[in-house]
Symmetry: C2
Subunit: 191 residues, 2 copies
DNA sequence: AGTTTCGGAATGAACGTTCATTCCTATACC
DNA sequence: GGTATAGGAATGAACGTTCATTCCGAAACT
């Protein structure tokens, strides 16, 4: 339907503007014009700006999760599963830099602070995969016996930082460098 | 002088509001009222909001650097120097959570993006201490031969992440946990 | 010493701008 | 022709900034 066409255009325009320049550079009027749509039209598809922004977040999240778990083998050793998940995560963000930058903007904004709180307490597919990994690894004496948030920090901290550096053009993350970086993370994690 | 009194009040009000709630929650009128000052008075001390925010950033940065280098011994082995710097950094942020949160807001805002670019290319005292450490460590075969941004990511990524988790109340970073976290970072770094 | 004058500091109401949202008209579809 | 959809000008709230005015302590004068 044309309805979905427009909705997609609006979402995509918002994604581009926010990812490239941040929320301050994405007023509704500009989103509308980049989407080739009238300002009022946006409100036929989204109740307000908050809804648009949150919906966009959810769409991105929903696309990432399956990619991470593709080829993921529960039976493999902890180390291999960690390498797999992390490699998939980095590759995904490298292929979709707009998504990465949008997520960064989102989590570092008022929109995302509540969600971050949920993340650490509640659960998400992605975090869950990692969480299970960590819990199992700690129990099996494979991973350091540190609080879960610290294990997350040791993994996601470096991974997101190198992704940012790549997206901003400070380094070039090829498969080899990604693998070496992830391996270094693992060495921090392992017992 | 009374002049400095007011300036200090204004800076402190801005620090509190921005650190606690983000830039969106710190209009000039609110900064003024929290500082116990008229709205126009701010402009006697700062040309505009950008200047106020940047000045506040510089003041914080200037306070941190000396603390990191206190008791820092150039002659010590790389590992010990890394542990020292990192311990000092974490301790500082734990003691001054407002500074930490302000810096986070600052770097994740339009104000800070330009600066971050400078940081990675140019130089700062703090980053320089780490940078020298890394360069020396790579040359001496003590640290993995990875690009500098990756080494920074492996260090600051986890350190800032655990600090954030502590400040947000998800974990309690005591000296023992700090030391274990930093040790884990080092294991990722070392050859 | 008491009174007046003076000047910089402080003030907050007012202004212009920006933005999200609404509303009414024009258009497309059946 | 009647209904649903799109558009973009209109609206009002919020914000950073300005400026005419007030305030206050110190100098100057008697």
């Amino acid at each position: 339907m044309i309805k979905l066409e427009k909705r997609t255009e609006i979402i995509h325009a918002a994604l581009e503007l926010i990812a490239e320049q941040g929320f301050h550079a994405a007023p509704m009027a500009m989103i509308a014009s980049r989407a080739g749509v009238g300002a009022g039209t946006i409100y036929r598809y989204f109740a307000n700006k908050d809804v648009l922004i949150t919906e966009l977040y959810r769409e991105i999240e929903a696309k990432i999760l399956p990619c991470l778990l593709e080829g993921y083998i529960e039976k493999q050793p902890i180390r291999e599963r960690f390498l797999h998940l992390s490699m998939a995560l980095l590759r995904y963000f490298i292929i979709h830099p707009l998504y990465f930058r949008y997520l960064e903007q989102f989590f570092n904004s008022p929109y995302g602070v509540a969600l971050r709180r949920e993340k650490l307490l509640g659960r998400t597919e992605k975090r869950d995969a990692y969480r299970e990994l960590f819990v199992e690894g700690v129990a099996g004496q494979v991973i350091k016996d540190l609080p879960l948030p610290v294990l997350f920090a040791l993994s996601f901290g470096p991974l997101l930082a190198v992704t940012r550096d790549h997206v901003l053009g400070f380094i070039v993350l090829d498969d080899a460098l990604m693998a070496r970086t992830i391996e270094a993370c693992w060495e921090g994690l392992k017992k």
